[in-house]
């Protein structure tokens, strides 16, 4: 195909149909298991697409298929990083945003835009809004069936083996949960997991620096400040959470550990009798490395402590603020409703331990019980002595609390996060 904009946009549209069809097959499998299944969350839809793209790329005989005009690769950026983390995206063929700078558009966003302009019977998704205690969640019900993909088949962009793989893939996804698809979609090699975690740390660093920079400008922390900054505080918390999930430092359950979810997914898919087609299993073996190779690789495991540090810090800092006036009544504080007072206090104690660990001392593989081995005074002079309970009781003012927290955050960034980021691109002397 040519690099011309018109051809490229047509290719993107064909890709949208194909990917939505793959999602449709998964959706049908889920519906068979659970009639109440409404549709995919945006994150699980995105990761399903990502997984599908990985497997499609691993298919053999690429040159021969390409020579006969088949689609062999999707024109996707698999690792588009924006404020939502890694997403699958199209390079846009032409600038469409009045705000300028978008040069990549998430696939789901592209489909949403297309769906705005087509009649109801041509839409690719039905969007259901599900209300939760902290806001609404969109669930996507794919609407692209085999009849709509037929035109690609008739144009020779697909053959029957491609169509069958799409169906096999859908059936395979139905064997695993959404959480497991997310883990499988996010991870494939140690290098990619390491990079993914560093992206989260970089984002966390940017949001944290920004929030403190802005909070520093206010003498008084009042309702107006809370309105302006609650979203940023939530972003700090959110990126630390993403990083700690990917680091898999909590090994209790799949909810908190991408590694456990990843292993559960592969175990479920490779279990005899599940009916997952051998073609899909072969592609999975090529695309997805075993979990030990990912999470026990020092490039990943050495980031575990940093991830834990950031996570403990945000639960302490943001958790404390969101349970005080004026943040308490803000809608974003509801997103942390799962963080109980005891969790915030525990985070305070954990941060107290973390600041005693220099970069040289940090473990290559972090486990929670490592904390018990940390003793002595912090070598850097950082003091973590502002108990959240004293903040909640009004014994410590918010300004002082924020000031103290900023020192801790700066130490984490300088000691752990920046060197990890710099180590990515070491230059030869």
């Amino acid at each position: 195909m040519s690099y011309g904009r018109e051809d490229f946009m047509m290719h993107c549209l064909d890709t949208c149909f194909l990917l939505t069809f793959a999602l449709r097959k998964s959706f049908e499998g889920y519906r068979k298991r659970d009639e109440q299944f409404v549709g995919f969350s945006e994150i699980s839809a995105d990761k399903t697409i990502r997984l599908f793209d990985k497997l499609w790329e691993k298919r053999p005989d690429k040159k021969a298929r390409e020579a006969s005009g088949r689609i062999v690769d999707f024109c996707l950026k698999r690792n588009f990083n924006d404020k939502h983390g890694h997403r699958v995206a199209f390079p846009i063929a032409d600038e469409t945003s009045a705000n300028g700078k978008i040069t990549l558009l998430p696939v789901l966003k592209t489909i949403e835009i297309i769906d705005k302009y087509v009649p109801p019977d041509a839409k690719m998704f039905i969007r259901h809004e599900e209300k939760t205690s902290w806001g609404s969640v969109t669930r996507l019900e794919p609407q692209v069936g085999a009849s709509r993909v037929l035109k690609l088949y008739k144009r020779n962009l697909l053959d029957s083996s491609d169509m069958k793989l799409l169906e096999y893939f859908g059936n395979a996804c139905a064997c695993i949960t959404e959480r497991e698809i997310i883990a499988l979609g996010r991870h494939e090699t140690a290098n990619d997991t390491m990079l993914s975690m560093l992206w989260e740390l970089d984002r966390w660093k940017q949001w944290t620096e920004e929030v403190f920079d802005r909070l520093d400008k206010h003498e008084e922390i009042n309702t107006s400040v809370a309105t302006d900054e609650a979203h940023r505080l939530w972003q700090c918390w959110s990126f630390a959470r993403e990083c700690v999930l990917k680091a898999a430092v909590f090994d209790n359950n799949a909810f908190w550990s991408d590694r456990i979810a990843y292993e559960n997914a592969l175990n479920a898919l490779f279990m005899p009798g599940t009916g997952v087609h051998q073609d899909v299993l072969n592609l999975l073996k090529g695309a997805q490395h075993p979990s030990q190779e990912i999470w026990e690789d020092p490039r990943v495991s050495s980031l575990g402590f940093t991830a834990f540090c950031c996570w403990s810090f945000v639960n302490y800092f943001v958790g404390t603020l969101f349970k005080t006036n004026p943040f308490q009544s803000h809608v974003f504080s509801k997103r942390l409703s799962s963080v109980a007072n005891k969790d915030v206090i525990e985070a305070f104690h954990r941060v107290n331990k973390c600041v005693r660990v220099t970069r040289e001392d940090r473990p290559q593989q972090f486990y929670l019980n490592y904390l018990h081995s940390i003793t002595g005074a912090p070598p850097n002079g950082i003091v973590v002595d502002m108990d959240p309970r004293d903040v909640w009781k009004g014994k410590i003012g918010l300004r002082d609390f924020i000031k103290g927290a900023e020192t801790i955050a700066n130490w984490i960034i300088k000691t752990h996060v920046i060197p990890d980021l710099e180590n990515l691109r070491i230059q030869e002397i």
Binding site: Y3, F8, C75, I92, D94, L195, L421, I426, Q427, E428
Partner: protein, 486 residues
């Protein structure tokens, strides 16, 4: 990047002159801020077209590059109008940033700031433009205007090179090959035509004839390994060339201002940050390469086959005054003297003391040759790699270092490696001349544990980034790279 040439606007030098004449006459600015790099190239086109040489230094002393606003002469901001100049506006980030710097940081009142942009996109609404040549440009026309301007700058001889580059003009009275071969005794040279049709020679990693003196004066922990080091020879007109040495050692990011005491004070006294130290050491290092150049040309000069004349300040071909845009208090006269000194060191250096190559190596990468094909391929490989690095690594907004781009060279054969590296260095020049990439600087950690300021290359703007991404999304390594984008 080559765009389809159908319906390209025919932009001439007189359009730019007329555009800026109008803006300058109506504004009567006390200061002109050029948005790097095409804004500076636009102004330079205007200034160099005017043979009334008295204007040259006068204008440049009132110019500040957007990159150097913080150094600019504050007295020039206190009264009168300020004119911001750029080639185009789309998202408005760069002009917006310059405007913010003036209004919010320097407390200049907005009414005193006027904005002159040659081509304005129809969706640009972030800042209000006071002077334009083209307005209401849709995406396609905006690209074509941009492309036509770049062609014009290339035809005038690579005006898109960094504002801080120093050039020395030479006139040859011999064959071009004789001239080029003499220069190639400094290192592997690649001969090619720029997209603007000008003949170029790039010498990769030229020898330093005076290396011990140079290294002794460099501050501690500065490294010259795996850095940008080249000599560009750019045709300006028939038998006239500009010699432009480019050399950016990597500088510790915690370097103090007084660490530059070993280099001439006309440069060192302007060091007030690691960033300025990086650029000043770059200028100093480039000066040393003049010794290499003129050691190579020693015999030709002696035989009268090459004339070199370092222009005086204010001459029509003055090639130093533009540095005032970056370093407003730079002693240009002293810098000129320094250039003469280094030129003389080279000219007087006895041949047996030289380390020049006995057998010069010049590669012809002219269209139709096999090296030209490889040059085209490397051009795209570089763009793809810069795009990949910018997306792949967090915090990599400043693009890729030369060392990272050199990883594209896979050849294990030593001789072939030398040629490949020279071709890559040349392909990098082309990406800059074509305004696909723009030089930048980043702080990077080295294997010795020191973080240094390093020359990097990033994609020049959203329009180029969008096109590269579109191509890279389809272009897999087995396929040939594109020649044109439609």
């Amino acid at each position: 990047m080559n765009y389809s040439s159908s319906n390209s606007p025919n932009i001439k030098e007189e359009h730019i002159i007329s555009f800026l004449n109008s803006a300058i006459k109506q504004t009567q600015p006390s200061m002109i801020i050029t948005v790097e790099r095409k804004g500076t190239a636009l102004l330079r086109t205007y200034i160099e077209s005017d043979l009334n040489s008295n204007k040259t230094k006068d204008i440049w002393s009132r110019v500040s590059s957007s990159e150097a606003l913080r150094y600019c002469n504050k007295s020039l901001l206190q009264e009168g109008n300020i004119l911001i100049v750029d080639d185009g506006i789309y998202g408005g980030k760069r002009i917006g940033s310059a405007l913010d710097s003036l209004v919010k940081e320097k407390k200049v009142s907005r009414e005193r700031v006027k904005i002159a942009v040659f081509g304005v996109h129809e969706r640009s609404s972030v800042v209000s433009v006071d002077f334009r040549w083209y307005g209401q440009l849709n995406d396609d026309k905006y690209r074509k205007v941009r492309e036509a301007l770049i062609r014009l700058f290339q035809q005038k001889g690579s005006l898109l090179l960094d504002t801080e580059h120093i050039e020395v003009p030479v006139e040859i009275k011999c064959g071009r090959l004789e001239f080029f071969d003499a220069l190639c005794s400094a290192g592997v040279g690649v001969e090619f035509f720029s997209s603007g049709g000008r003949l170029n020679l790039t010498i990769h990693n030229p020898i330093l004839v005076n290396d011990q003196d140079f290294l002794d004066r460099l501050p501690a922990k500065v490294t010259i390994r795996n850095v940008v080091r080249k000599i560009r020879i750019v045709e300006r007109s028939k038998n006239r060339y500009a010699i432009i040495p480019i050399f950016y050692p990597s500088v510790p990011s915690n370097i103090s201002a007084n660490a530059l005491s070993g280099i001439d004070s006309c440069l060192s006294k302007h060091a007030d940050s690691p960033e300025s130290s990086f650029h000043l050491i770059g200028i100093y290092a480039s000066l040393h390469l003049f010794s290499t150049v003129f050691a190579c040309l020693r015999e030709l000069i002696r035989m009268g086959k090459v004339n070199v004349r370092i222009p005086q300040l204010g001459d029509p071909d003055d090639s130093l005054a533009h540095l005032l845009a970056l370093f407003p208090d730079l002693d240009i006269e002293r810098l000129r003297d320094l250039i003469e000194q280094f030129v003389e060191i080279g000219r007087k250096r006895k041949s047996h003391k030289n380390k020049l190559l006995e057998r010069p190596c010049r590669i012809e990468a002219i269209e139709g040759t096999r090296h030209a094909e490889r040059l085209n391929q490397l051009h795209w490989l570089i763009l793809r790699e810069v795009e990949r690095i910018s997306d792949y690594f967090p915090g990599s907004n400043a693009g890729a270092s030369l060392s990272e781009l050199m990883n594209l060279i896979k050849s294990e054969d030593q001789n072939n490696q030398k040629i490949e590296k020279a071709l890559l260095s040349t392909a990098l020049d082309r990406t800059i001349d074509d305004a696909d990439l723009v030089p930048d600087m980043d702080r990077m950690r080295f294997t010795d544990g020191i973080t240094r300021c390093v020359r990097t290359f990033r994609i020049d703007g959203e329009v180029v980034l969008s096109d590269i991404r579109r191509v890279v999304a389809i272009w897999r390594s087995a396929l040939p790279p594109p020649c044109k984008i439609e």
